[in-house]
């Protein structure tokens, strides 16, 4: 499996280097630097040279690299790289060159714990944090008994939870976060619209609580099984945190689990039918000769006026030879950003059922050779609280524990778009 693990900075300097197996030399890092870091035309995340394969993932100017010498499981290797990034984030906030340098001892400790002989081991963040800490731990301080408990838990059937959790107040917070992906044609037809939903949970519950989770009454989970339920919420697919009993879900469609302590992602789902698009964009872009382009971009919000969209950012591409742009907006701020060839229009808030229009003119320089402007799509970011584009709602969250305590549950909904809510023009 994974023979070596490296972290490089942007210049190709090795920040972390760990060989898990002996079929490689440390100098293999030089090969990666030459072939990938200093190569401007890398077109694949896996490079195979001879029998050595380099898998790389980029994060904040760092390369996280796994090297294998066999017919490795590619999906697993990438999942492992991303898991490492997630763990590092959780331990020291952000993953960049500085934080890696400052925490290299901890990183070595972590990558030895989550991988042995190239095989990924337990990588549950909460469990790791019980025995790999940022402060140095004296082995005498962790009583042998305590370690036994930790290790038993780390390998057990509920490896994600300690069994001695205690809270005065038992609470559980559920966040339903939906990301809407949209691609709309110039004519206003929806080419594809889908929702990626994440149900995040923060569980502060004592003991070993047995939870049952319920969604909408009219919920169709296996799309192909449905009859014709017009207004039902339909999920194309869902995936669960490893604490959810998949066999029970498969047989009876119940979501039951013993949650990890603290924050985790209970479920992700995907929906493509009956999607309510919260924001509509109607662009009119006209090229006036070769000297200017005029824009009229209207943004409409399409939900109850009790709610509002916040942090709205609209990026409107301009031709590459734009010199300046005159913008007129009724609210928010619009600014031409030459580096990205876009007009960025920021609106802190739009109430539901409203409509705002930007009008702008981009002035172009005359260029000698006429290159066709690719017209990248207009892109919108926004957030709408207490709204779900799929219509999904949480009906109940039941907690059963042998002490029979009362627990308080909170549910929040958020629909957002970031980077993939696109309208062509």
């Amino acid at each position: 499996m994974i023979s070596a693990f490296f972290i490089f900075n942007q210049k190709g300097e090795v920040l972390i280097s760990r060989l898990y197996r002996t079929d490689l030399k440390r100098s293999i890092a030089d090969v990666f630097r030459i072939q990938v870091v200093s190569n401007s035309d890398v077109r694949s995340p896996i490079i195979t040279l001879g029998s050595t394969s380099f898998f790389h993932v980029r994060v904040n100017n760092l390369y996280v690299v796994a090297v294998t010498k066999c017919n490795a499981n590619a999906a697993l290797v990438f999942e492992y790289c991303y898991r490492f990034i997630a763990i590092a984030k959780s331990y020291f906030g952000k993953v960049d060159e500085e934080s890696v340098k400052n925490n290299f001892v901890l990183i070595y400790e972590l990558i030895d714990e989550i991988n042995d002989f190239g095989y990924p081991q337990n990588s549950e963040i909460d469990t790791l944090k019980t025995y790999i800490t940022t402060e140095s731990v004296m082995s005498t301080n962790i009583a042998a008994e305590e370690s036994s408990k930790i290790t038993t838990q780390a390998t057990g059937a509920t490896s994600w939870r300690r069994n001695d959790v205690k809270y005065k107040k038992n609470e559980a917070f559920v966040d339903v976060v939906e990301t809407v992906n949209l691609s709309m044609s110039a004519k206003g037809t929806v080419l594809r619209a889908d929702v990626e939903g994440h149900i995040l949970m923060r569980a502060y519950l004592s003991g070993t609580p047995e939870c049952k989770f319920g969604l909408n009454d009219k919920l169709v989970i296996d799309k192909n099984e449905r009859g014709s339920l017009g207004d039902a919420v339909e999920l194309d697919d869902c995936r669960f945190h490893q604490c959810v009993r998949l066999d029970e879900f498969d047989s009876s469609r119940t979501i039951s689990f013993i949650p990890p302590d603290g924050e985790f992602e209970l479920m992700t789902y995907r929906s493509t039918s009956n999607i309510k698009l919260p924001v509509k964009v109607i662009p009119t872009v006209t090229e006036i000769g070769t000297s200017s382009v005029s824009y009229v971009v209207t943004v409409k919000t399409n939900f109850s006026n009790k709610l509002s969209a916040t942090n709205v950012v609209i990026r409107i591409p301009t031709p590459l030879n734009t010199t300046s742009v005159d913008c007129k907006v009724p609210n928010g701020k619009a600014k031409y950003v030459p580096a990205d060839n876009v007009v960025v229009w920021k609106l802190p808030r739009i109430q539901g059922g409203q409509e705002v229009t930007l009008s702008a003119t981009a002035h172009l320089t005359s260029t000698t050779h006429r290159q066709v402007w690719a017209r990248p799509p207009i892109d919108i970011d926004f957030q709408v609280l207490m709204f779900t584009a799929s219509g999904l709602i949480v009906r109940f969250l039941k907690v059963f524990e042998k002490n029979n305590y009362n627990s308080i549950k909170w549910v929040r909904y958020l629909t957002k778009a970031s980077g993939s809510y696109q309208v062509r023009f």
């Binding site: 920040l15 017919n71 081991q121 296996d222 490893q242 995907r270």
Partner: protein, 736 residues
């Protein structure tokens, strides 16, 4: 940490040595950290071995780990000194703290010093039976480490038997690591040829794995699923049982678990005969496959490559899901390219309009490579869906009107394929294409346009003028263009003999005298003889009817496809190539080929049958149709020369398993382009026919006596197209 990047000072190691021996604990620990930092940037700190070793015995777990890290790195270079560490290690494996026990056994396995290995066996024996599961799971992997280093120790100490027993462990994680260790050892043993039966997944093992599957960690599930994939089912009921137990894993959040489950199900579905169950499984597979696309781009890419394979096996899996493969503007190129391929696979009459408007959109993007592929995809859609061909042609015309050079060139190439599929249907397009003659500077585009002009010479009034341009610059053109010019001029002459006699004389003259490619010269000679001996025969040869092209459903041979489906999620499935091509020797050896050959035996025999039917059904002159349009897509002139120059042995290699040296000629006509596959059998027949003609200069009778029986004799095993295609790709890979 400032020292981490500091330039090497004189005597830095000396300073470190002093600090490592300091009386203050903090100072010593800090020094160890600096040593590790230096080690990371590949500075030589091996000289500090004794100093670091002194710090091994400590209660500070972090410091212990750092010292161990150092030891793992340098144990090999200082085998004499490592022995000093043994005592501490052995003592640690008796520590009351399970973390310390596990750490010691984990590290000892990584030291790789002969001296210490002998001391490893006893503690390992103990740790494999430790009461703590964390220690047991670490020890299980340690057995694999030991096997890697000294297999005989593992066998002598009976560790393999212990591992076999541990599959029944009550702790799921221990089971998972045991499975991983056994698989690792099993593969190593097969690779070095010492044993093949170390880890057989038996019926009892199967049941234990199925129980552990639902309880262990995500990584453990992958290991267990991989073992399940290797299980050989006894009957249909067992196959069904495995499928049903594995299906819930589709809902797992980890993409590698989902893909591993897909693999197990695809493998065990082979043993299922109930159509109903198969349908149900395939239906359940679709949504998770689509969901894989919401992963990070690298994982998406792996998933897309695997989906591509799955679609070749079962084209109906995602039939209604084409839209989810639409490219996002900010997808990385490698993801876009894969999506494009899958979109074409999923294209049907119902969704072709949406597909075309997408492809048109992509054709205006910035990346040249992606734009070209999008245009190619339009052509593939036209060839795949008859009803949509006209709409595709209209989109292509729109693109040609943009007059962006690379767009026009690619569109011309694509138009040629459309003409091949639908002869004489879109002649109205020809003037537009000819108008762009000046824009073309790439050989493939030029050759395509010349082919079109030659094919429709009687409908283009100024065909002689247009071809004249290319004849004038004949010697400067690349070989594919020369070959096409030659053929096109001959076609023109056969259709309009009066106006083009001079042109044909000129081109034959130049091609036979001034051209340095043997292919071009030979073709010119053949034309010349044909034309001078019997124009009637020439006509029937050059203007013969050719089979229509279709889009191949698979890009790999059926046997290889099955093999790759069994490798889903691995590198082999990502590259669509068997693992032997990039693991081990990095190139497929000559001895490995016969084995491949037998794998393909079934296909070979079907190909042979098909070939015989074709040969029997056609007239001899039809077989001599060396105007087979596939040659517009043949490998570049250089590659073709290489093939010709190759020894018969190399030719064998190239043409799969054929033993006939004549078959190297066939390779000239081989190409990996789309649509070539179905036209291969006549192509093979052509060269075989030439074999009968003692091709190379002797006087030829007007109609060559190439009868089916001659063909069979001279070509006992006609190379099977996908096999050759595959070997060609392998050869490319061999360049690594």
């Amino acid at each position: 940490m400032a020292t981490m990047r500091a330039p090497p000072r004189k005597g830095e190691n000396f300073e470190l040595s002093a600090d490592l021996n300091s009386e203050y604990r903090d100072k010593r620990k800090d020094a160890i950290k600096r040593v590790i930092a230096n080690m990371t940037v590949q500075k030589d700190v091996s000289g500090l071995f004794p100093d670091v070793l002194k710090n091994m015995q400590t209660d500070d777990l972090e410091q212990k780990k750092l010292v161990y890290l150092y030891l793992m790195n340098y144990a090999k270079t200082q085998p004499e000194l490592v022995i000093l560490a043994v005592n501490t290690f052995v003592k640690d494996t008796d520590d009351p703290n399970p973390l310390v026990r596990a750490l010691a056994i984990r590290t000892m396995g990584c030291l790789r010093a002969e001296k210490i290995i002998d001391y490893l066996c006893d503690p390992l024996q103990k740790c494999l039976r430790d009461e703590n599961p964390y220690v047991r799971k670490t020890a299980a992997l340690c057995v694999a480490k030991l096997y890697d280093l000294k297999p005989e120790l593992v066998i002598e100490n009976g560790f393999l038997e212990t591992l076999q027993e541990m599959i029944a462990d009550s702790n799921p994680m221990v089971v998972a690591n045991t499975v991983a260790a056994l698989t690792d050892i099993h593969e190593a043993a097969i690779a070095n040829g010492s044993a093949t039966d170390i880890f057989i997944v038996s019926n009892t093992v199967l049941n234990k794995l199925l129980i552990a599957l639902n309880e262990c960690s995500e990584w453990g599930r992958v290991a267990i699923l991989n073992a399940l994939a290797r299980y050989e089912t006894q009957d249909e009921r067992e196959s069904e049982h495995i499928c049903e137990r594995v299906v819930p894993q589709f809902q797992h959040a980890n993409a590698s678990v989902v893909l591993a489950a897909v693999k197990v199900i695809m493998i065990h579905l082979r043993g299922v005969r109930s159509e109903n169950l198969i349908k149900q499984m395939i239906r359940k597979m679709a949504p998770p496959l689509v969901t894989l696309l919401s992963n990070p781009p690298e994982v998406q890419w792996v998933a897309l490559r695997d989906i591509n394979l799955l679609l070749q096996k079962r084209p109906d899996i995602l039939s209604s899901e084409m839209r989810v493969f639409f490219c996002k503007y900010n997808d990385p190129l490698y993801v876009k390219v894969e999506k494009l391929d899958i979109m074409v696979r999923l294209a049907s009459e119902n969704n072709v309009d949406a597909l075309l408007s997408e492809l048109k959109e992509y054709a205006s993007e910035v990346d040249v490579d992606f734009v070209r592929r999008s245009i190619k995809a339009i052509g593939q859609a036209a060839i795949k869906i008859d009803e949509a061909a006209e709409r595709c042609v209209n989109v292509l015309l729109e693109l040609i009107n943009t007059r962006v050079s690379y767009v026009v060139q690619e569109a011309v190439v694509v138009m040629k394929d459309i003409f091949r599929k639908y002869p004489s249907t879109y002649e109205g397009v020809i003037p537009t294409l000819c108008a762009n003659l000046d824009e073309l500077d790439e050989p493939e585009a030029k050759a395509s346009l010349i082919w079109i002009i030659g094919e429709y010479a009687n409908k283009i009034d100024n065909a002689d003028e247009l071809l004249g341009i290319f004849v004038d610059t004949f010697t400067e053109e690349s070989y594919p263009v020369q070959l096409q010019t030659l053929t096109a001029v001959v076609k023109l002459y056969l259709r309009k003999p009066d106006s083009s006699q001079g042109l044909v004389q000129r081109v034959l003259n130049t091609a036979t005298k001034d051209c340095d490619s043997p292919d071009v010269r030979d073709r010119a000679y053949i034309y010349w003889r044909l034309l001078s001996t019997d124009p009637g025969a020439a006509k029937s040869v050059v203007q013969a009817h050719r089979p229509a092209i279709t889009l191949p459903r698979t890009t790999v041979a059926p046997a290889l496809l099955e093999e790759l489906i069994g490798e889903i999620s691995t590198l082999a499935s990502v590259y669509h190539k068997p693992a032997e091509t990039f693991v081990g020797r990095g190139r497929i050896g000559a001895d490995a080929l016969p084995r491949k050959g037998t794998d393909l035996e079934d296909d070979q025999s079907t190909a042979r049958k098909a070939f015989q039917t074709v040969a029997a059904g056609q007239q001899a002159e039809n077989l001599l149709n060396f105007d087979d349009p596939t040659d517009t897509q043949q490998p570049s002139g250089l590659a073709a020369t290489q093939v010709l120059a190759a020894t018969p042995a190399a030719a064998n290699l190239l043409s799969g398993n054929s033993s006939n040296p004549l078959d190297d000629l066939v390779s000239i006509f081989g190409n990996t382009g789309m649509g070539s596959t179905p036209s291969q059998p006549p192509g093979g027949g052509l060269s075989a026919g030439f074999g009968g003609l003692s091709f190379g200069g002797a006087p030829v009778s007007p109609v060559p006596p190439a009868t089916p029986s001659v063909l069979q004799a001279s070509s006992p095993a006609p190379p099977q197209p996908p096999a050759r295609q595959q070997t060609a790709e392998e050869d490319l890979l061999g360049l690594f």
